[in-house]
């Protein structure tokens, strides 16, 4: 089975840690933009971008909130780059039980970067006047079919395990919910 070729838009924020001045303007504007009503309050603890900073070790890593992970990783990574030792999780985008980043401070609910939907470019990029953050959009060709094939394999496995009938009922229930 060959898939249909389609293009999709990929939004990228390029992060140049060498240019970061550690000012956290990105955190400021992110939390303001996502306040309700918009810009009505400011609180970097609600920001979906964080600058992982250790100024004396010259470590500045702007990180965007990615998907929520229900559980911690089984192991942790520590990186040393150019003689600088980065704490574990420095480069990880997940909100997860092992760290305080990317969670609403009041509710603990996970935060995720939405690239400032509706704006010309993510506002953290706009507010980064030292150009540590730059925005790039590009078109990428994807084979839609490939995804369907994967899905089919997965469903087949589930059908084998639970039976087609149960699978059908579950799908029907899920689609009602949606």
């Amino acid at each position: 089975m060959t898939g249909e070729r389609k293009t999709k838009k990929v939004k990228t924020i390029k992060i140049n840690v060498d240019k970061c001045n550690g000012c956290r303007a990105c955190e400021v504007i992110c939390s303001a933009f996502h306040a309700a009503p918009k810009y009505s309050s400011n609180n970097p603890a609600r920001s979906r971008i964080r600058v992982i900073r250790d100024p004396l070790a010259d470590i500045y890593v702007p990180i965007y909130a990615g998907d929520h992970a229900v559980a911690e990783c089984a192991g942790r990574d520590k990186y040393t780059i150019d003689g600088k030792e980065y704490d574990e999780c420095s480069f990880c985008r997940a909100s997860c039980p092992s760290r305080s980043e990317f969670k609403e401070p009041d509710s603990g609910l996970p935060l995720k970067c939405d690239m400032c939907e509706g704006e010309e470019e993510p506002l953290c990029v706009k507010w980064c006047m030292v150009d540590a953050l730059t925005y790039e959009e590009r078109e990428e060709e994807v084979e839609e079919g490939a995804d369907r094939e994967e899905l089919e394999i997965g469903l087949e496995a589930l059908a084998a395990k639970y039976g087609v009938k149960t699978l059908q009922n579950t799908l029907a229930r899920l689609s009602k919910k949606a």
Binding site: G22, A35, S40, N43, P55, L56, D58
Partner: protein, 675 residues
């Protein structure tokens, strides 16, 4: 709801170990804004003139500015206010960095410390949870080191730490409070913190700061950012490079130090080295800075990179800013490598980078003159650089001669005697000044040196060019987009200002013009200090993004206070006068309002008298520099006037006739007979 501010102060009594969260009066915000303004109000109310700097009754107020924590670019300053052990007047040193916004996010506008702890402690503020914690294990530790240790033990890498080093613990009169890339250095406020037994204040906050009219506020922020970008791309021509751009002077960035090294004084502000700078030195110093500087860095929410991480072989990294790059170098007649190295130790000890090198150079001058001898300084090594390290270690420990020097040049000279006072020549109000000695009196600067109660020229100068431009064309070009002026008559003054001839210094700008210029420049600094704005984006550089025309809008949209230019100017006048009133209560008078005797070679006593007379009148002060009852009344400061009358403040200095009527009125109102 309170906007921009949290509406709460944290009151900590260190003697009792009592911690209270106290709601503040929103009317005070309207009248005194915040930061320095409300600090001054608290100091007036609660620290009477009899209070000794090292009394438990002296307060140490660590305050965020009114707009800190909002998205206003560069608004990140912490204003620390107390009574200085050195000047014995109000000290209000400020620091940038990341502390003030964090304090706001924790839910407080100010931390007010009173009393004294019996043992060394640190204060940990985490939103509603506030603790006084034991700091015995941090005794003697460096200020930077302390911050690292505390963050580690609290497992709170995002906390902000303001700490003192050994100098603060030992109450050195020029001890600083260090905080990340910044410090509150002037006036010896670190000594008061040490006297209170507080090693550090640690803050972590995750709450919201609200703004009153979000859309309007963001538009103002965006305009400011656009203008910063414009100014970064368009430096001002015809002024020296460090005055052409925004931010603090970009000392961490620039390599060409010809101007500073040849125009500022070396040693104890004595020696000018006119042909110092050459290609070889330029190449060496460039190599030093390039290899030591890891990165140019910023304060919270600011694109200007005024600071740097400095990392030298064999020494822990530290952060530096501005002119401390050269003060040790020039104090010791050494090179940049030495300056950066000793500054690392000085930063850990927590001392002011302006006063400290001058105090040490002063000691060595006295030694050369035989006023201090080997008996006073047993073990003094050979060589200027070694001596500087030796003296620094003695001073921060208050050992031997260090115990005398730790009080600064003025008090040390008094104690040493034998004519040592002639060597403490670079002070205003007992406080060491920039090492600058000039030829022709500049009338604008004369007034600023005399009356700047931050007692530091960089904290009052800024908006008006320091010198006339050479040609009319250059001046016309400059005023074209000079919209920051309060009104157009400032442009005319500048257009007519010639380098020589009839309209040149010291008689032009005229006395009245000088008053207007100084008043404008000072006002902008005072507004910054209440709002928490960095002077580097406002009162210090020429043509800044924040000015008298957009500030009222920022306050209106941000804090929800109905503000216009006149009301803002009046508020600034109000707390500026209150600062003066506090100092007047502590004995400051006209006699104290003067520059170092030798600051200018060519002096004009008659003109200087006229300048001061006219400026005092302009400010609403009497001939002795005391705010008159009339002017106090106009500012809604009758309570100050009442206190002055009660204390007989006016009795020594003849007040103008109109004040008598006011006195009667005030006295009536004191009896409850309010008219």
């Amino acid at each position: 709801m309170r906007y921009a501010e949290t509406g709460y102060n944290l009151e900590i009594d260190l003697t009792l170990g009592n911690i209270e969260r106290v709601e503040t009066d929103p009317r005070d915000t309207e009248l005194y804004l915040g930061g320095l303004g409300t600090n001054a109000k608290i100091m007036w109310e609660r620290v009477p003139p009899e209070t000794e700097p090292f009394s438990p009754d002296n307060l140490l107020i660590v305050s965020a500015g009114l707009l800190c924590g909002t998205p206003a670019t560069g608004c990140n300053r912490t204003i620390v206010t107390t009574i200085s052990p050195q000047t014995r007047l109000l000290a209000f040193s400020m620091m940038g960095g990341f502390f003030a916004p964090e304090l706001k996010y924790a839910g407080y506008d100010k931390v007010i410390l009173r009393g004294k702890s019996s043992s060394l402690v640190y204060i940990y503020i985490h939103n509603d949870q506030v603790e006084i914690r034991d700091a015995a294990h941090l005794k003697g530790k460096g200020a930077v080191e302390t911050a690292g240790l505390i963050k580690k033990e609290l497992k709170e890498p995002n906390a902000q730490v303001a700490a003192i080093g050994l100098a603060g613990e030992n109450r050195v009169f020029f001890a600083s409070i260090e905080q990340g890339r910044s410090s509150a250095s002037r006036g010896g406020i670190g000594a008061v913190m040490g006297d209170k037994g507080v090693k550090a204040i640690v803050v972590r906050g995750t709450k919201d700061i609200n703004v009153a009219r979000p859309a309007e506020f963001m538009e103002l922020c965006n305009e400011v950012m656009k203008y910063i970008q414009f100014r970064n791309e368009n430096p001002i021509p015809n002024v020296m490079p460090i005055l052409a751009g925004l931010g603090s002077p970009q000392e961490m960035m620039v390599h060409d130090e010809k101007w500073h090294t040849e125009n500022f004084m070396w040693g104890n502000s004595r020696v000018r080295r006119k042909d110092f700078w050459n290609d070889e030195i330029a190449a060496n110093w460039m190599k030093t800075l390039e290899s030591a500087r890891t990165r140019l860095i910023s304060c919270y929410n600011c694109p200007m990179k005024c600071g740097a991480t400095i990392s030298l072989p064999g020494l822990p990294a530290y952060m530096m800013k501005c002119f401390s790059k050269l003060t040790y170098t020039m104090g010791a007649f050494s090179d940049l490598e030495f300056g950066l190295r000793i500054a690392q130790r000085a930063t850990e000890y927590g001392v002011d980078g302006f006063s400290t090198p001058q105090v040490m150079a002063f000691a060595l001058e006295l030694y050369q003159e035989g006023i201090l001898t080997d008996q006073d300084m047993p073990g003094l090594p050979e060589g200027n650089e070694e001596r500087f390290y030796w003296l620094l270690d003695k001073i921060v420990r208050r050992e031997g001669i260090g115990n005398i020097l730790a009080n600064g040049t003025y008090w040390a000279a008094q104690e040493i005697g034998k004519g040592a006072d002639k060597f403490a020549h670079n002070n205003i109000k007992k406080h060491e000044q920039l090492p600058l000695k000039l030829s022709m009196l500049n009338p604008i600067y004369f007034l600023m040196y005399c009356t700047g109660e931050k007692i530091n020229i960089t904290q009052i100068e800024g908006q008006f060019p320091q010198a006339p431009f050479l040609t009319r064309e250059e001046r016309e070009e400059f005023v074209k987009d000079w919209f920051q002026v309060p009104d157009d008559h400032f442009k005319q003054i500048f257009l007519d200002w010639e380098p020589r001839g009839e309209k040149s210094m010291p008689f032009y700008p005229t006395v009245q013009m000088c008053c207007d210029i100084v008043d404008w420049q000072e006002r902008m600094h005072y507004i910054d200090d209440a709002l928490g704005m960095c002077a580097g984006l406002s009162s210090f550089p020429l043509k800044p993004p924040y000015h008298i025309h957009n500030y009222p809008k920022f306050i209106s949209a941000g804090a929800g206070i109905d503000m216009d230019e006149e009301k803002l100017a009046q508020a600034a006048r109000r707390y500026r006068t209150l600062v003066r009133a506090i100092n007047i209560g502590r004995g400051m008078r006209r006699k104290d309002d003067r520059p170092p005797e030798n600051h200018w070679k060519k002096r004009f006593p008659e003109l200087e008298k006229e300048l001061l007379d006219t400026y005092y009148k302009f400010k609403g002060w009497n001939a002795d520099g005391i705010p008159t009852l009339v002017s106090l009344h106009e500012l809604g400061l009758d309570y100050v006037g009442e206190e002055f009358l009660k204390r007989g403040i006016y009795s020594d200095s003849p007040d103008e006739a109109s004040a008598d009527a006011m006195a009667n009125k005030v006295q009536k109102s004191m009896k409850g007979d309010v008219s």
